[in-house]
Amino acid sequence: MSEPAVEVSNLTKVFSTGLSKNYVVAVDNLSFEVAAGEVYGLIGPNGSGKSTTMKVVLGLMAASKGSAKVFGYESGDIRARNEIGFLPENPYFYKHLSGEETLKFYGKLCGLKGSELKDRIAELLKLVDLEGAAKRRLGGYSKGMLQRIGLAQTLIQNPRLVILDEPTAGVDPVGSRQIRDLILKLKEDGYTVFLCSHLLEQVQEVCDRVGIIFKGRMRREGTLDELIRIESQTAMTLENASPELISKIHDLISSDDAAKVIEEGHPRTTLERLFIQIADQNRKEESA
């Protein structure tokens, strides 16, 4: 099996608040892995520790305890960052640069030059559909355009891992769908995507696996199928079933030859319902 793209082991991050020696545990003994090639979504409410976890993975923060690795390299190691493309929430790039100059700047920081850099910029501008705005300064870009140029800069050095923090925050539905499609395209192209999002429907659409984090702790983790399956219930999908049959279905289904069971399995909830359920549970645990 290939090496995990992200390996977070017993990660704890504690912040001290001012001079009062009070401490806030932002991330509490968190462990999870993101396999190479998968789209992993970390979801949780504000202040749950998602962004802190991402920052530790990126090496922008140091772990108080535990570790975070990227393709086997300790986070913070320049070789780990070489494998990462990062899009922060509400990215603000240098407004005085044009879209093309922005990609050139980040490309050069990643060691690209000459025709290789030029070709890569053209390729990425095409991918994010910003060829027409390449020469325009970012100061004149819309939120959706900024997000797309941000996504392009994450990919400039062809990283193996793409980390997206709230990639569709503040973007209109059309822009949001474009970004969703881009994430699916990244997956097709073999990138590993690790994202945080509040938009649970979108996470459900793009993620292979999801981790639900509350108060810095992992509450549930698994494939979408595992997470949203309701084990205690069974659903049947029937073909050519009359209303009468539906009313008697539990008694008749085994004896009626005209009715055929097309699918039988576990009905699904939505990720959103599951999330709210865990949040309620969490609140009850705290008040108990």
Binding site: G37, I78, P88, Y94, E101, Y106, K108, G150, P159, G190
Partner: protein
């Protein structure tokens, strides 16, 4: 599921642990940022100032007029250099942090020392270009005025140049342009480089740009009284170990800006000792290394 249909990305190519190219990229980006912030508009203000003092008859003699033009213009250049070094440097890093541009830069394969060096070099390139342009404009103006005054002196004599005229011309030439003025400009540049490195150190831990600017200006002013302050303390103290330690700390933390003050003498026509230039260059280099290392110490573990 996905593993069966898609090919995983290949590992990234190796990156050097330290790269001058990355520093240069950051420096050029800083230069572009400052240029697009209309920084060079200051040069127009300088040109206007120079034209104003050049065409204003406030001196009793041509030599005095030339001396005043030099003092004011080189004073303005020096003021621009250190003030710009403080303000631009104090604004750049906090702005990157505020705009989260720092996140995207530091999440690329960029070392924090490369980022700091890139910012410093960017500011110094702007100061270097500005000082060069100002020096050329200034030199042109002084030479033009000098030639005019000499022509006037010669014009007053009817046949041959008298000793009195020769003396007047010599005095004009003494107060006019001489190549050593480039050394004075270099001293302004080096002083600005030290000020910028102090400001970078402060901005790596300061909570606001205003604080950084105020403290940098204070350091700059105290640094001009370096020798006076250390002599005073040595004379007044009982030379205990604590005082000695504090003095050493003061000498390290507060750069001695008096080493650059010989440039004022150059502007006034004094000759330059090569040893003074080498001492200035050596100390500038040492200060830059010390302040950049201290900046790195505070910046390397800074959390964003």
């Amino acid at each position: 599921m996905s593993e069966s249909t898609t090919t995983l990305r290949a590992p990234a190519r190796e990156v050097p642990l330290f790269s001058i190219r990355r520093v240069w990229t950051l420096a050029i980006s800083t230069l572009t940022q400052l240029v697009r912030m209309k920084t060079f508009y200051f040069l127009f203000a300088f040109a206007v100032l120079l034209l104003a003092i050049g065409n204003f008859n406030f001196a009793s003699s041509p030599a005095q007029a030339l001396s005043t033009v030099k003092k004011v213009s080189f004073g303005a250049m020096d003021l621009f250099a250190w003030l710009f070094a403080i303000v631009a440097t104090a604004l750049l890093i906090p702005r990157d942090l505020e705009d989260r541009t720092l996140y995207t830069i530091l999440s690329k394969p960029v070392r924090r020392i490369e980022y700091l060096l890139g910012k410093l070099c960017g500011v110094l390139i702007v100061i270097g270009i500005s000082l060069s342009v100002m020096f050329v404009v200034c030199a042109g103006m002084i030479q033009w005025k000098e030639a005019g005054y000499i022509a006037e002196e010669i014009g007053t004599t009817e046949n041959q140049i008298t000793e009195e005229t020769r003396q007047a011309i010599l005095l004009i030439q003494k107060n006019g342009f001489h190549p050593e003025l480039a050394i004075a400009t270099l001293a302004s540049f080096m002083k600005a480089a030290v000020v910028a490195s102090v400001t970078i150190l402060l901005s790596t831990f300061a909570s606001s740009s205003l604080f950084t600017i105020i403290i940098s200006v204070l350091v700059f002013l105290v640094g001009h009284a370096h020798t006076m302050a250390t002599n005073f303390w040595l004379a007044e103290s009982d030379n205990s170990i604590v005082v000695q330690m504090l003095l050493k700390l003061f000498k390290i933390v507060i750069p001695n800006f008096q080493i650059f003050s010989f440039s004022e003498g150059i502007v006034q026509g004094a000759t330059v000792m090569p040893a003074a230039i080498w001492q200035m260059a050596g100390l500038t280099g040492a200060y830059l290394v010390v302040f950049m290392l201290l900046s790195l110490l505070t910046f390397v573990d800074k959390e964003f």
